[in-house]
Each structure stands twice: as C-alpha cells, then as structure tokens.
C-alpha cells in the first residue's frame, strides 16, 4: 500500500463511492476505490462495452469487504479521456499506466471477457506487478470467440429489456431471473453515474477482441509466460467466449485453478455471484503450498 492509497481509502460501495480521477500519460482516468486501506488491491478490468457501473455491486462490494478493490475506465472508456485502442497490447499499456499513476507496486487482477485478455497480457509482460490473476469469461490469444454473431442475435431480441439478458445469461428461467436481478443491482446508482459507451469505444474494442482471438500464439507463449497463481472461471454455456477456452487455458497455464458454473453464460460471475465471491476469496486468500 502506498501513502496515496491510505490517504484516499474509504468504505463506501460501488453505488455510493465518489468517482475519482487521476491524470498522466496523456489520459485522465476515472475510477472508484472501495474497501480497506491495507491488503493487495484487486484491480478490475472490464468487459467489451462496459464502464465502471457495468460491474455487479453484489460482486464488487462483497469483495471489497476484506480487500481494496479498484474499478476504472481504461483509456477512452466511460469518463476516461483518450482514445480506446483497437488492440489488447495497447489496452494493457494504458492499464499499466493507470496502476502506475496510483503508485501501486503489487496488485491482483480480475479481468472479465476483453478485460481478461488485457489481464493476460499484463501478467505475461509485467509479472512482478501481479500477485494473482483471475480470468473470467475470456479467451487465450488465438482462442475462440463469437462476438459479432452473439451481439447480432442479442440486438435482434427487441423484446429484451437489456441486451445483457440474452448476452450474459442462458435461456433458462433461473438464469434469466438472475439476469433481471443483476440488472436491477447494476442500475441502482443514479448520481455520478458513469457514461455509456458509443461506437468510438465499442468499434475498436470489438476489433481488439476479434484480433486477439484471430491471432495465433504459437506454443501458447502468453499463457506460458504467466507464472502467477491463476483462477480461470467460465459459465458452462457462454455463447460469446465458450467454456472450452477456459478449460484450454487451465491446461496451458502453469498454476491454474479452473471453475465452471452450471447453466450460465457470459455473465456467470453475476448469476452465481455469491459462489463466485466465495471462490475468489478462497483463491486470493490461499497460501502457497510449501514445497
């Protein structure tokens, strides 16, 4: 923990924490910081098209009860300035700059979807910065994605109150009901709410995700470069980035735990939020097995 963190820590929630700004490297980053002053901060890397308020308060607030949690908008996203890059490598550089501005020397990373690609890139290239890694609903470089087909299908469902219902949840009544509960939680905040993203964000982000999956990574060089303990999580029926990605990643990573949730899609972490929080905590709190 740094002086800056200790001075700025507070115990609010995702819905009530003030949005803060920090500027450097030509970008003014928007972020919120929750939880206690001490402990390794958990930095959240958001999915395609999402902003700070697209995180599930049930997940973020629960995780912040016993560790610092930082949600932020990467360059160009939400209320951060700058341009959204069209490639994962540049997004990783922007995220590193943000972490650097906060003066954090060691973090845990939780990357969801596109954010999981960024998290892999950071962990592979900046191993000393990352203590533990959580990859949710994501793909390895060269992995399998169905982003455009799934988006097209979701936006054709004009009766859905929010595209995230078909995008993030399965068609089962239980999953859809969880989806409605998630949307309700995510829409509570009214004041100082983050800005929705338009095509200036989603176009380059889509290109970045598609390119990441379309680019072979011979010998799984990125996964092999990741030495941190890693928790890989997926929904059983993720239509955008299938669970087979998660299984494959867990086979190639040197120290990965895999968790797949039943009857769930891309938003498995929101559907099974209590279980997910419990698994993340158990993983982050685990001491290394003595050799």
């Amino acid at each position: 923990m740094t002086k800056r963190d200790i001075a700025s820590q507070d115990a609010t929630t995702l819905e009530t924490a003030p949005t803060r700004y920090i500027e450097g490297h030509g970008i003014r980053f928007a972020y919120r910081r929750l939880g206690p002053a001490t402990g390794t901060p958990l930095v959240l890397l958001q999915h395609f098209s999402g902003n700070i308020d697209a995180w599930d308060p049930a997940v973020v607030n629960a995780l912040a009860t016993d560790r610092p949690v930082i949600a932020f908008d990467n360059a160009g996203v939400g209320r951060s300035t700058g341009q959204t890059p069209d490639n994962v490598e540049a997004m990783a550089r922007d995220a590193i700059n943000f972490v650097d501005l906060l003066d954090l020397s060691k973090v845990d990373l939780l990357g969801f979807s596109l954010g999981g690609c960024v998290a892999q890139q950071i962990a592979a290239e900046h191993g000393q910065l990352v203590r533990k890694l959580i990859l949710v609903g994501t793909a390895p470089k060269g992995g399998e994605e169905h982003l455009l087909a799934v988006l097209q299908d979701a936006f054709s469902k004009t009766d859905a109150p929010d595209p995230r219902l078909p995008l993030f949840f399965t068609t089962s009544p239980a999953s859809q009901s969880s989806g409605l509960a998630f949307l309700k939680r995510a829409k509570v905040r009214q004041d100082d709410r983050d800005t929705d993203n338009g095509s200036a964000v989603t176009d380059p982000q889509a290109k970045a995700l598609i390119t990441w999956c379309a680019t072979p990574d011979p010998g799984h060089a990125i996964l092999r470069a990741i030495r941190q303990p890693t928790l890989v999580v997926s929904g059983s029926h993720d239509t955008m980035l299938p669970a087979s990605n998660a299984y494959a990643m867990s086979r190639e990573l040197s120290n990965a735990q895999l968790v797949l949730y039943p009857d769930s899609g891309h938003g498995a972490l929101f559907q099974h939020h209590e279980m997910f929080v419990s698994h993340v905590r158990t993983f982050l709190d685990a001491q290394p097995v003595a050799a």
Copy 2:
C-alpha cells in the same frame, strides 16, 4: 435426521471416533460418524483399495465441523463383512443398503475415484435419496482410466515410502511435500485402526473400475439421469482418471460445477485440502437460484 442419528451423534474426529457397526442385508458394515446431529449427512464413498482410515482427517474433520459426515467400509472392505463385488452396480446396492440401515432418508454423497462411480450410479437410480453430489477424481461410465498402468508404475517405485505418493501426487516438490503431509495425517490413528485391504478387495474393485470405464453408456444415460446439483473435482494431472473425464462429465450433467486444481494428481482433494473443503462447503451450503 432420524432418531438413530441424533442418539448416536458425537463430536469426535476421524482419528478418535469409535468405529461402529450396523448389520443387515447379510452384511455387518463398519463406519464412523462425525459432526453435529442435525443437517443433511455427507456420506463418503471411498477410492479403490481404500478403507475408512484412507480418508484425509484434514478433509473429513473440517467438513464435519458443520455437518454430519459418515465414512464407511462398503461390503467386503476393511472391517465390513461380505464379499466385495466386481461391479459398480452391486457396490451401489450395498451402499444403498448401508444408508438404509442408518435410516437416512436424504444424504449428500462425496464419491472419490471408484467411489465416484458408485455415487453416480446411486444418484442416477435413487434420485430422491441424494440431495447433492460431489464427484472427485472419477470417470463417467465409458470414461478414461489408466488404473493398471499407473498401479504398475507406482509399485515399481520401490523407494517411495507409500505407493500413494506416486499414485496420488505429481512429481513436483510441492505436490510430493503435500503428499508426505497427507500420509502423516492419515497415519495418526493407531487404536481401532481399520484393516488394510488385500486382493480379495482390490481384485474385484479393479475389475469394477475397469469394466465401468470399458462399458459404453450410450447418450450418457447415467449422467443425464442425475438431476442433483453436482460438484465435479479433479486434479490437473490425474494420471489414473484424467481431468478430461471431469470436464466431460461437467458438460453432460444438467447442473454441474467443475473445479480443477493446479499441479495435482489423483489425490488433489488431499493436496489442496483447505481449498477443497472451502469449495465443498460453498457448494453444499448454496441455495438454489430462484427461477
């Protein structure tokens, strides 16, 4: 809970609980009962060649802090009388008879390895008896096993203090060190210790496991018949019953959560015992997501 359970409950450990006996259906079953009087009992189904004292006290005692846990010798095994059958179906009938003798109308099952095959058979055929199911280091009917090759390899390692070191743990220093710690825990009990099994047990058990995996199950009828919430667990590098079995089972079961542990073999639940106990608890305590 039944009158019998409440009358017999005590708060001892696997190492100190008296071995009890209950007789019926022509068999005198040896068992130990730990934990509180109330709650759905968790019945443990043991691996090939194992007896009651082959369970890890670290796992059993931790699980028994907040639920009744019952470890037993199935017919012919350890200090139970009767003949060890050479097929999973008959083992399932014997286990059902044991549960019946204890007057339990609803149980959770934790089946490890061969015990996981037996647990699948019970859950598929006696759905009303089983609340939740935990399958560890096991295979579906028609699945993949390397029992004889792995046993041969393990018994050729004459320098290993116990065949379970090469059988249950990977070659990494961390895994082997966990293996030594497990063996130490499992060998604490001296008085009233369970009887080791000879070929009258292991020969038919080996035949049962090999036959189970060699017999196709068209349309995964057994997995499809299982409707209970199921937690499927495997070590990343299980050489006897590979992790691919666990992944495949989680795809076919209607309501399965999958957990794979890093750098671990067949004994992943003993190596990662704290994590495993946490995951089992989280799974068993989870309320169904409302539809």
